[in-house]
């Protein structure tokens, strides 16, 4: 048997290096029309009138009125229109689509359209939304979601406590900056709509279009084109672009290409939810015996996936710690800004930043070493999670932590701080990530994966999950080939086309390797038994949660996830004592993500996820002013370059999950969540201060240090 973890060359890499792989914008066809969206220039307003200039032949302007079915993007709630009707709820909300044969002319027309508005008082912040003095955006109180769950007796814990510590944390917006901007190409032929584009979830797009065109499933075809990064940004948002492009094709009968430019993508697509998190801890005999966490997410103007993002955030509220008495309160709040959406970690990064930083602060106040303090609260096998789910598998945190400490030489570096022109600091974080869909998501999805053995004895993987860079083109091929004992090259895996593949669910929630890979693993086992050379054989497997998983979606009780991955990070920083710029020098990580399906691909996930997390904590600043983002281009919104990136050193501890393929668990998001709190702890260590907010901006550090120096004088 081959070692499944042994790296192989990625199957999709050669054509990407050569520039041959076709991303959405690389598809071109004769007679194709270009599309441009006309967007709201108001933050919140009624549309009073639209003045369209006389259009040259072949040019069209398309509005919500042209939608034959329902003008709502199918998601959890029923509030987000493809194109605004009579009201706009954020600056940049799509109102019209202009299409035509010459791109420059299309742009010219889109700029000459005049829209008359009547302003409605806009809700520009979460505070304002919660005050509820202006006409609400959603429902009666601007709350897309308002949740609560409890474990143990929290009040009793607070009354018994030696000390109660309460702190508040803030996290900012984050923009995905996948290198390939969003885009779709739509065609309309004989009553059938076909969409090709950059996406994570072909069936999300398909289901959205079925409702938009009030048509039957066989009238919609969705095909993923090679996708240049997603990180969650291409989870729900592509449904809107696809819906708008498809409407253009439907109206004109021609192929329509709608590709965003970077500025459009930065300013008008979904972002990571900013959060405001309050943690109150009851400390007794040196232990946190009770905790109350309140998580408030800025959800933007439409519900999108915010309710589930909030759930994942809430279920991660106590991090990797077993605290007997827990109360978690969560609110997803509507404001007049771009809808917030999925982004690697999906609500968990905000919570993990808050709980990790809180635990550091409590440890410091108690005069304890943060690592030892955290380890003394760690989850163990047999413990119950915040929602009362049972940890059935070994939790190898001590091993993970010991390894990252020795790898980084943490204690000696912390004690004997490097002397230099810059201020040196080292920080630690430990954390978990719930694998797969949150709550009853997988039960509702009931994903199906199919394997088709062809007459030539090659085996095709038929699933709706995509490779957006994270590697399933390679890892899933390996899984199937390994079970069947055939060469990797004999497994075929094309970009999904909804005409050809079953719905194996979206490419999200770190579920592809563990959940879909698990289905493929079982399908391959069955195929192996049925194998007859030269014959066509099809095997299908449908997902069912293991029987022992119990979950109550109403009360948020039980196993919120079938399994968890674990990790610990150490980060070293140098802070400039004059400018307070943070230079992240080294990042160490040890993860238990089960059996790695390819060590190199996992290594790539770790580096990339951590650097995105480091950016989240430092450089990636996005602010709102009067309902608009101040950072509207990639020049203003800074992501790390090779000069900003630290050196990474990583290792794995592999506790296999019995239902994951070869024991694989979740990986993609886990690699993101621990970096920001470790950076924060390192900066705190360098400057000997407490911090409560990311991104950590030099100008804020300057203010904090000036105050600190004054008080010390």
């Amino acid at each position: 048997m081959r070692d499944i973890s042994k790296p192989v060359r990625r199957f999709d890499a050669s054509e990407k290096i050569a520039g041959v792989a076709r991303f959405v914008d690389d598809h071109y066809e004769e007679g194709m029309l270009y599309g441009k969206i006309v967007r709201s220039e108001r933050v919140r307003a009624k549309i009073k009138a639209i003045k369209i200039p006389e259009l040259p032949e072949g040019y069209h302007v398309i509005s919500a009125k042209d939608i034959p079915g329902k003008n709502r993007i199918k998601m959890i709630f029923d509030d987000w229109p493809f194109l605004a009707e009579d009201v706009v709820n954020y600056f940049g909300e799509p109102i019209l689509l202009v299409v035509g044969p010459e791109r420059e002319k299309v742009y010219e027309i889109s700029e000459s359209i005049e829209i008359e508005y009547e302003d409605i008082p806009a809700i520009l912040s979460v505070e304002e939304a919660l005050l509820n003095k202006k006409p609400p955006i959603y429902g009666e109180n601007n709350l897309f979601a308002d949740y609560f769950f409890e474990k143990g007796d929290v009040e009793n814990a607070f009354s018994e406590a030696d000390e109660v510590i309460e702190e508040e944390f803030k996290t900012g917006f984050q923009e995905h900056i996948y290198l390939e901007p969003q885009g779709m190409i739509a065609k309309y032929n004989n009553g059938r709509i076909e969409v090709f584009g950059s996406m994570q979830c072909p069936f999300y797009v398909k289901n959205a279009l079925i409702e938009e065109f009030d048509t039957k499933p066989d009238k919609i075809r969705v095909v993923q084109t090679t996708t240049g990064g997603g990180f969650g940004g291409k989870e729900e948002y592509p449904s809107q672009i696809a819906g708008i492009a498809a409407l253009g094709a439907y109206k004109t009968g021609k192929t329509v290409k709608l590709v965003y430019d970077r500025a459009e993508d930065v300013e008008f697509t979904t972002k990571r939810h900013p959060s405001h998190i309050r943690i109150k801890g009851a400390v007794k005999n040196g232990k946190v015996i009770g905790i109350e966490v309140e998580i408030i997410l800025n959800a933007g103007s439409y519900a999108g996936l915010s309710s589930v993002v909030l759930q994942r955030g809430m279920f991660a509220a106590t991090g990797a710690y077993s605290i007997p008495n827990v109360r978690v309160i969560g609110k997803a709040v509507a404001t007049n800004i771009v809808p917030m959406g999925a982004f690697r970690g999906f609500g968990a990064p905000q919570s993990i930043f808050a709980i990790e930083t809180f635990m550091n602060h409590v440890a410091k106040r108690l005069g304890r070493d943060p690592v030892e303090f955290k380890l003394s609260h760690r989850y163990r096998k047999g413990d119950t999670t915040a929602t009362g789910g049972l940890l059935r598998n070994e939790v190898r945190l001590p091993e993970i932590v010991n390894r990252v400490l020795s790898m980084s030489d943490y204690y000696s570096k912390k004690k004997e701080k490097k002397e230099g022109k810059k201020l040196y600091g080292i920080g630690f974080s430990m954390f978990l990530h719930g694998c797969g869909f949150t709550g009853n998501g997988e039960e509702i999805l009931k994903s199906i994966a199919r394997l088709k053995k062809r007459k030539d004895n090659k085996v095709e993987i038929l699933i709706s999950n995509v490779d957006m860079g994270q590697g399933p083109q390679t890892t899933l091929r390996k899984v199937v080939a390994e079970v069947l004992g055939i060469p990797y090259e004999d497994v075929i895996y094309e970009n999904p086309d909804t005409d050809r593949v079953p719905d194996s669910g979206p490419t999200v929630a770190s579920r592809t390797a563990m959940i879909v890979g698990g289905l493929l693993y079982r399908a391959a086992k069955e195929l192996k038994e049925k194998w007859v050379d030269g014959e066509e054989i099809v095997v299908e497997k449908q997902y069912r949660h293991p029987e022992y998983i119990k979950w109550d979606q109403e009360k948020f009780k039980g196993d919120a996830y079938p399994e968890y991955s674990w990790g610990a990070n150490v980060i070293e920083v140098e802070v400039d004592p004059i400018t307070y710029e943070i230079d992240v020098k080294k990042a160490y990580a040890v993860f238990d993500l089960g059996t790695p399906l390819d060590r190199k691909i996992i290594e790539g996930q770790i580096h990339g996820g951590m650097l995105q997390g480091i950016g989240y904590a430092t450089l990636e600043v996005m602010e709102q002013k009067d309902g608009r983002f101040m950072q509207r281009t990639i020049t203003d919104y800074i992501v790390p370059t090779a000069l900003d990136a630290p050196l990474f050193e990583t290792d794995l501890v592999s506790q296999p999950y019995e239902h994951g393929p070869f024991g694989a668990k979740c990986a993609g998001e886990l690699t993101f969540v621990g970096a920001a709190p470790a950076v924060c702890a390192a900066v705190e260590d360098a400057l000997q201060i407490d911090l409560y907010e990311i991104p950590i901006r030099p100008e804020k550090l300057l203010t904090i240090m000036e105050k600190k120096n004054e008080s010390e004088v």
Partner: protein, 158 residues
């Protein structure tokens, strides 16, 4: 306006608006889709090409400026032995994830190794600092560059 220039080793002449971006001309008039538009602001390097041997971001170059010059894109580069070394090295180092940025990186790596066959870590980071990658954290791309430097030792010094 008609502009004559050398593109991937061949003399070409093309009619286009002199103010149009080199990026659009390469993609639309010549079908060179390996030149990617990632930002249109000269920040990401996905549209990098060689102009008389120097790395430029083709989204910032007005088409008229290439008159009489030599342009090499990934499509031209991939016929060379140097490209093959870079390709093999990136494959073995696991440098590629989503791949949208990769052709631009190959252009920068080629230019670096041609000028500096044995670059140090810091020099590699500087050479690729005009190329953004959101997937890899850069380290495995840097590993790929080092591998290419080693494997193509004689070639780079030639």
């Amino acid at each position: 306006m008609k502009v004559r220039f050398k593109l991937n080793g061949e003399e070409v002449e093309v009619e286009a608006n002199p103010a149009s971006r080199l990026l659009d001309v390469l993609r639309e008039k010549f079908g060179l889709i390996g030149v990617k538009e990632g930002c249109g602001e000269g920040e990401c390097g996905a549209c990098a090409v060689l102009l008389d041997g120097r790395v430029v971001h083709s989204c910032l170059v007005p088409f008229a400026n290439v008159m009489g010059k030599e342009i090499i894109t990934i499509e031209g580069l991939r016929k060379t032995e140097e490209y093959r070394i870079i390709e093999e090295s990136l494959l073995d180092a696991g440098s590629v994830q989503c791949g949208f940025c990769t052709p631009g990186f190959v252009i920068s790596i080629y230019a670096l190794l041609k000028n500096n066959p044995n670059p140090e870590d810091k020099e590699i980071r500087e050479a690729i600092s005009g190329n953004l990658c959101r997937c890899t954290g850069y380290q495995m791309i840097i590993d790929g560059v080092k591998l290419a430097a080693k494997r193509g030792e004689k070639l780079w010094k030639a």
